[in-house]
Symmetry: C2
Subunit: 566 residues, 2 copies
């Protein structure tokens, strides 16, 4: 079989304007970036009814072997397109961190891809860079203001600048800097050293996918909403303990100006020419893990079926889809697709890389509890669920048969074997049929908790019903954070859990479907712009690092400017 | 008169494909980014003869009042276009640092602008972000390699990774990180703190305009040249004192991949529809200060006259144009335009903001030495020079008359009053006529020095003949650097001086045309990828800071997504 980049490059692309035309969009609704990308105006479909059905693709708990969730999302989209349905995929833009760090590309794979894959993986239309830029402008502005106020004193500062002093408390700046790379050395740094660069202070860089501004972009309904959310961003506290926002610093307008084009989703296409809206890129372990509300909204008004995905397992991106994104958008899932592989379940039974491709029904049975847990998890939101078994060449009929039977016995609405990777649209046709059948069924969506019930109550609900924990425990720091967030008016915001994606619990080593554990919350952070409170379950890194043999080693360009090694 | 953004917004734009068509480019030569921007393929005009004449716009020594060099460059382009000539401007992309820091926009001004000005000032087609991203990938890769090799030891590192250990000396890493903002707090930082993030070390961020990678992009002739230059980038030394390049680290290919689209110039238009190629953005005080060779090359093959500019005074960008850029491109200037204002000359006589608009012939006479110096400086390169007096409403006829006479008496080939700001093309018609006349004259270009004569010799030549110094003095550090650079094979590279732009000397306080000073070189740095050696004249900041009332304070968007406050 050809490599992903070879398949991508041999695809005959449809001019992107034609893809837009199929969605009923006219040239004044979008701006082309070459023939392969188009920025869609956020109000392009505003006067059309929101009639599409929403399919959210999720997965079992991730393993090192890769479950193929994006392959399945794109394959399903391709299959529905091939069957003649008006379908649109809504996906996140890949961060360069993982692109150069691990995977070397994230655009699906095999014959289920968004193309051209190298454009999707590098810059696309620059939105992630815009988020970094706007985010870091606020950080530079904050440190500069601190510098000038300390240098001159409040009174003299006001006399010379005409601005009221903010009296920023250098020890209580909560706004980090960001970078779209895996840069371990920037996790914990000390800035402002040298002469006249101060004051010195400890701070850090997060990866851009974890920026609150990324969440703002993803959760905004329109420009006015985005501008207001940016104004509410909490950057620091003053020496009297009062919050300082981006609006207070006078930087919110400039940040919005930087994001003026990034608020528009980018239209691309799948290998067989189905439309795909790429927009925003929050990770699902350290952020809310779903693509934008604006892209979904456009897709729901221009298509009959919209396929999107939440990051990682259903305890991560899908939970946040239901409890954060749906609350902000009003768009609940009509159906969920839950992706699983035989390898993933064996891995949850403790089988390692060397044995993972061997037939092993016993291990499959043991690891099945993980899939069972995720089926039940999706069902508790009142959403019908189709399990997609992402097929690999080594899968045996006996294993597949056993798994299909068990899935149906566990309450899933349907099960299908997907060969989207090897066969593209054709390989996902059975899955598409099951999804179509599911979409005719009634749906009784209910989120896991009501934000109005308060943070402490909802933390408990999320821990126990969202992850199967026996309870939740707040560190002294988390308790102090909670008191402060309540004082700042954040008591009734939804929760965004930062936790490992490698277990349903907070502990990456607990495979399968752990129970009895206590979820430890180390700290809480108010994100008044995004409109949620982040809870950190244990020690969660918000800046990844590069491994021993990072993805960038393989990448290069040839003399024609084509990328090789993806 | 309307504001710049109002003028920009009321301009009726020509679809960018039509601008390209006027240059003789077909749709397969470019990719449109909406209707206002187009990325031009680097070989778009490769099979056409290089027949254009090259006009380089430079200026007297900058003052706080602004001399209007870009206004004049664009006004001249507009005037030549209006007169029916095939003309193209080649300009740098504005850095967001100054955009949010000081000026609030850099796209010309008044009725001489590149439009839409807000697109030019924010992101454009993302090239500067791409440079930041590629630059910082190398930095992250370097720290990660250091981390893993130290954590495991060389032998175990090789065993686990299959890579030879680089044995990076943590004290001798010469590759900084970059950010396209004025961020004082990042000038001097300490990274790698915390657990398992190390080793800890001191380092810094530069502004992206100072990145060697920006110079690489600007000086590359084609993709293969760029890829080779990236491979040569010196990142660090190993513990045995041997250099470690981007090629050694295995990151050069990925960096080139990130810059794959950034190597293409972006086509825009002036207010009256003349083509303008925007490409790269090195500052002229801390970098080589000129737009790209690739853009010039395309323009020289598609136009009869190409107007470009070197940053700051003729001792800065113009010197670097002649001694660095021309050497790499083979394209020498056919004519120079030297921009001056009455205010600038009065400022060089010590007149301050309160008095600067008053008629003051005595001050004008006193400050005239600065202009005189720059006329002689341009002439010593064998380039004909037209002095453009950028007109302001308060200028008196008596002053203008006196200045014009003196300019001609000082050896300039011609002089013209430019009203490009207030009147656009029409206001620069006289200037255009003088430039056209000049282009018919023979030109005897000679650079100031031959790189083959060696760094020490050329530092002396540059100090004495390039700036009028009595000599040059190297600090002990600079002498050590020199020895090392010679050992590394950089002895015969051109020099790129990092010095203040506010004086012909190294001392910003020395106005007019200082003499008798000794130019102090504090350190030297080999830029093997860019192909020059940077010499630092005194303490030069490579990361600006935000001032008391930064440009971002005025910026915002309205509900239609339009930017206000530029």
């Amino acid at each position: 079989m050809l490599s992903d980049i070879e398949i991508s490059r041999q695809t005959s692309l449809i001019p992107i304007g034609q893809i837009a035309a199929v969605m009923g969009l006219s040239p004044h609704h979008y701006r082309c970036y070459g023939n392969t990308r188009a920025k869609i105006a956020i109000n392009a479909a505003a006067n059309r009814p929101k009639q599409g059905k929403l399919v959210v693709v999720t997965a079992v708990t991730p393993t090192p072997f890769g479950e193929g969730k994006t392959v399945t999302s794109i394959g399903l989209t391709q299959a529905l397109h091939r069957l003649g349905h008006k379908v649109c995929a809504c996906l996140r833009q890949p961060s360069m961190g993982p692109v150069f760090g691990i995977k070397g590309g994230a655009a699906g794979g095999g014959y289920s891809q968004v193309v051209p894959m190298e454009e999707l993986n590098l810059h696309l239309t620059g939105d992630i860079h815009a988020v970094s830029s706007a985010h870091n402008l606020a950080a530079a502005a904050l440190d500069a203001r601190l510098h000038h106020e300390q240098r001159l004193g409040a009174e003299e500062f006001t006399r010379q600048s005409g601005l009221a002093a903010l009296n920023i408390d250098a020890e209580r700046i909560v706004w980090n800097r960001v970078m779209d790379h895996n840069d371990r050395a920037l996790r914990s740094i000390h800035v402002g050293m040298g002469t006249n660069n101060g004051p010195e202070r400890d701070c850090s860089f997060d990866i851009t996918a974890a920026s609150e501004l990324m969440a703002v972009l993803a959760l905004s309904r329109n420009l006015v909403d985005m501008r207001a959310r940016i104004g509410r961003l909490l950057l620091a506290f003053n020496t009297a303990g009062k919050p300082i926002t981006a609006e207070d610093l006078g930087v919110a307008g400039a940040m919005a100006a930087i994001l003026r084009e990034a608020i528009e989703p980018t239209l691309m296409q799948t290998i067989n020419g189905a439309p795909c809206l790429i927009h925003t890129g929050p990770f699902a372990n350290i952020a809310h893990g779903n693509s934008s509300i604006i892209a979904d909204d456009i897709a729901l008004r221009t298509s009959d079926i919209v396929v999107t995905e939440g990051g990682f397992g259903s305890d991560m991106g899908f939970e946040k889809f239901c409890n954060i994104k749906t609350r902000a958008s009003g768009n609940a899932p009509d159906c969920a697709v839950l992706v699983v592989t035989l390898k993933a379940l064996k891995s949850h039974a403790g089988i390692d890389a060397e044995e993972i491709k061997q037939p092993n029904l016993a291990a499959l049975k043991q690891g099945f509890v993980n899939l069972q847990w995720h089926i039940a998890n999706v069902k508790q939101y009142g959403v019908p669920v189709v399990v997609a078994i992402n097929h690999f060449p080594e899968d045996t009929d006996a294993e597949l048969r056993w798994l299909q039977q068990q899935v149906l016995a566990s309450g899933a609405n349907a099960v299908a074997i997907s060969e989207a990777f090897a066969q593209g649209a054709k390989g996902a046709t059975v899955l598409a049929g099951q999804v179509l059948a599911c979409l005719t069924k009634p749906r009784h969506f209910k989120p896991l908790y009501q934000p109005e019930q308060g943070l402490m109550h909802n933390l408990q609900v999320l821990a126990e019903r969202g992850y199967g924990a026996a309870g939740v425990e707040l560190s002294p720091q988390a308790l102090r954070d909670l008191t402060q967030i309540i004082a700042l008016g954040g008591e009734q915001l939804p929760l965004c859990m930062a936790k490992t994606q490698m277990s349903i619990s907070h502990d990456a080593k607990l495979k399968g479907a752990p129970t009895g554990f206590i979820l430890p919350i180390s700290r809480l952070q108010l994100h008044a712009g995004a409109g949620f409170v982040t809870a950190f379950a244990g020690n969660i890194m918000t800046m990844p690092g590069l491994g021993l043999t990072p993805g960038y080693l393989k990448l290069d360009i040839n003399a024609r400017g084509e990328i090789i090694g993806f």
